[in-house]
Subunit: 313 residues, 2 copies
Amino acid sequence: MAGVLALAGGVGGAKLVWGLAQILTPDNLTVVVNTGDDDEFHGLHVSPDLDTVMYTLAGMANPETGWGLVGETFQALAALQKLGAPTWFNLGDRDLATHIRRTELLRKGSTLSHVTEQLCQHLGVRCRVAPMTDARVRTTVTTDQGVMPFQEYFVKHRCEPQVKDLVFKGADWALPSPGFDKALREADAIVFCPSNPFVSIGPIMALQGVRQRIELFKGPRITISPIIGGEAVKGPAAKMFRELGEEPSSLAVARRMSGLCTHFVLDNVDAALVPQVVKLGMQVEATNTFMTTPEDKIRLAMFVCGLAGVSLK
Amino acid sequence: MAGVLALAGGVGGAKLVWGLAQILTPDNLTVVVNTGDDDEFHGLHVSPDLDTVMYTLAGMANPETGWGLVGETFQALAALQKLGAPTWFNLGDRDLATHIRRTELLRKGSTLSHVTEQLCQHLGVRCRVAPMTDARVRTTVTTDQGVMPFQEYFVKHRCEPQVKDLVFKGADWALPSPGFDKALREADAIVFCPSNPFVSIGPIMALQGVRQRIELFKGPRITISPIIGGEAVKGPAAKMFRELGEEPSSLAVARRMSGLCTHFVLDNVDAALVPQVVKLGMQVEATNTFMTTPEDKIRLAMFVCGLAGVSLK
């Protein structure tokens, strides 16, 4: 392959990835997705970010919730609750099918990469979607209310506990997945989607050798800031910045990406920050990064591909 | 406990068991259910007969299909099909919750007995329902189209292949479940529900020591014939008799139960067979055994309890 390697977490990343998929040929796009917030519910392996990306690319995602499927029903979850199972993690009936199938194939010996490839194929997703790793990496959040798995922090406690530290258990020894490895070798450009820098991009960067390989990557490496006007479009990124001792801003994001990226894209409302980000050694571009409509997503994807210098379909 | 130990397979057995549950106190009824036709679908442990009995007792069973739940939806199954999974075995969304929960608890180390107890408790089933064994026993059908697991014969091939032999894999070494063992020691009477003598009662009798323990059981042992007028009310029992070389009739059932039972209940339409069954050494009673309405089930249950000599609630 050549083209773009896009690194993504959940909703924000999926939006840009959807835009990229509209303008690049499938063999010019590899999406590598955070699996640090994977977890097991009812004995089933759930990969929230992989599914958000996959469902978004398949046109099945629920645009209102930011998780799950459009037109979803919740009969099984209601029945699980009746049977005494903890049901704070929302799982729709059709979404459950994904987790059931994934778990079955994993138990039979498939890698998460291979399972993801199969699921995408059946859902008609044509570009390559790969987990960041086939190893087990789990994001653990140290908070004022104790240490907890990411989904417990994120869903059960609605990001309310104060974050003191993040640990990506298993990341030190986890190798990039084969698809990630191949894209790191062959891609023309790397795009850091507007995903949470701590818990979406963080786990990917923590994998064995990844940070160094990206630092040494020859082509353009472009970050799209997930912070607009000091706030995250969605999710706890801004709150995490504050709790970890920094004012949330595109500048704070840029500091984290310094050395990793050649280009930094921030929103027009943050144009005043451009000179400071330039000093960090990146080419900086301001544009409209807020995505709601399909046109927004395609427009930002076009902008990014322009910086990446990759040919469109 | 004391009271009745009822041995059951699926639909026919569940009907009589429901009747028994209406007239006996919960501690006077233990239902032991065939698990020879358990199987795994999508990596989930499915116990069709246990679920039919459990759902029937909980008032949740679908009376029209003979399997699954009333008002069931099939969103997950449709999604599994889209993901390339084989979906010839019907699994509704709420039914799936049972299999997901059961599988999770089994994987965590619970026995099938303990899981069944938990599920029943949450569904409000008050009498004791136990699997025949906690060991793995699998009914395998040798047919003119090859050897296949029971559900494949029963559901996928709709009982169409010609049966040449039945094997209850694992039964020789499988001990009765703790609940079955206790009931065999303490019950006042044993009731063989009107279930398929080959694939519902057969696996239970094949367990280690069970046949001998029932032969030596001191109290009444009562069979209700599942064959009425030479035909099974439901399922392949009559077809199996023919294919295994015997005319299907209550007499043929009685021959199989000879030595195991003290009492044999057949339908009024088969009253002419009474003298021949008497010769097999059992007390024979003719009554209306065809159950459709709740009243039918309670009436037959009362009749059986009269023979068993157990006190009603």
